[in-house]
Amino acid sequence: MALRKGSTLLLTQGPVIRSFAAVGSKMEGEGPLGPSFDLICEDSAFGQDSWEKAEASMQKKALDLAIQKGAFSPEEIDVLFAGDLLNQCISSTYGLRDLNIPFLGVYGACSTMAESLMMASLFVEGGFGELAGAVTSSHFCSAERQFRFPLEYGSQRPPSAQWTATASGAVVVGRQGTGPRVRAVTPGRIRDLGITDANNMGAAMAPAAADTISRFFTDTGYQPEDFDLVVTGDLAHVGSQLLLQLLERDGVRLEGRHRDCGLLLYDRKRQQVDSGGSGCGCSASVLCSSLLPRLLDGSLRNILFVATGALMSPTAVQQGESIPGIAHLLWLSAAPAGKE
């Protein structure tokens, strides 16, 4: 069972990441991680007649692939934790409705991959089942029409804006077996330092990421040097700079160990994504196309995966509210659990 230290849970069993899959579209395929995706669908409509259906279909494809790669059948999965950015999480509910797997919807904005993976890990760690799935997605077009403007509307993006990834990631976690392990989790606290600009989400989320990362090191006594990488989700260019400044105030120096999914998924300059990528699918697909494969082949040993989310809604922003951020942390390790 899990061992609590401060607000960090050390998972003594170490749930195993049994299989995973990343699906993306054209832009993601042209990015640096393009060749590592399991499926790149050039048609961002995924053969559907609305962007919402496209996203739902993409999320289904990611989970299907993950189940297939692990040679599981859907009936073996005991529970699914899934969510996305659309109102009432319709990409997950409509995409996964035909699977007949017990379903628990989660909302953590762009932090959803870390949140759902954390819950799936705790579920198997607690012995409540053998296999649990974690899925999330985002789609540029469905997010744009919900949060910003119609796609054909002529608008200019400020340099601090982020580009919602059209991507999905799915992970199947098991109680036993071989694969990368989840060694510890630190649930995030909501942090709001008064950023009101919805075009500067990186800045809104950086304090939450700094808070969670600091707490993990304080709780566990580990140092940044104990990890190969600390990978945040979707702070992008602006937020990453702020994160390093904030952590330095707390006496945590990540030196060259920090990476950000929003900067890994796209070539920021060539693909004109301004500050970088964002959306649930961004950190999810980076995890499943790059980080987990590298933990599998041993080129990474220990990493901290810290996906961040901006917990805003257009309604709240229009009412003048500031944007609360959240960041959930998972310690992922290539080494078998129990060996220190």
Binding site: S25, R145, L151, E152
Partner: protein, 121 residues
């Protein structure tokens, strides 16, 4: 065609757009608010009789930006009041800008029928 007339339209129209860009980049104003501000400013300047001078000088350079739309509303209201009395207060503005608005509505309806939402490249 008189090139000087075109140059005047270019300079005045361009300047009105430049002001809009400065408002976007330097203030917190969203595009929708800027459009509203332009129309209301147009009504105000048109009502005060200032905007007509700009139209006389720059032609389309003053009528094409949304301030021109506002000025047209004011002008139409004034003319309707002169011709029909108090009812013109309500009927003048819409009547004057009806061609543009009705055109935009009908053409947008057709666009909605015949065009599909596309992903960004």
């Amino acid at each position: 065609m008189n090139l000087f007339v075109l140059l005047k339209a270019f300079l005045v129209g361009g300047s009105l757009c430049l002001i809009g860009q400065l408002l976007i980049d330097r203030t917190k104003l969203t595009p929708a608010r800027i459009l509203v501000a332009y129309v209301v400013a147009g009504v105000l300047l048109g009502g005060l009789g200032i905007y007509q001078h700009l139209i006389d000088f720059a032609g389309a350079g003053a009528t094409v930006p949304l301030t021109g739309f506002g000025a047209l509303l004011a002008k139409g209201t004034r003319q309707a009041i002169q011709e029909q009395g108090p009812l013109g207060i309500l009927s003048g503005g819409l009547t004057a800008c009806a061609p543009g608005v009705a055109g935009a509505i009908v053409l947008s309806l057709l666009a909605g029928f015949f065009s599909r939402s596309k992903d960004k490249p």
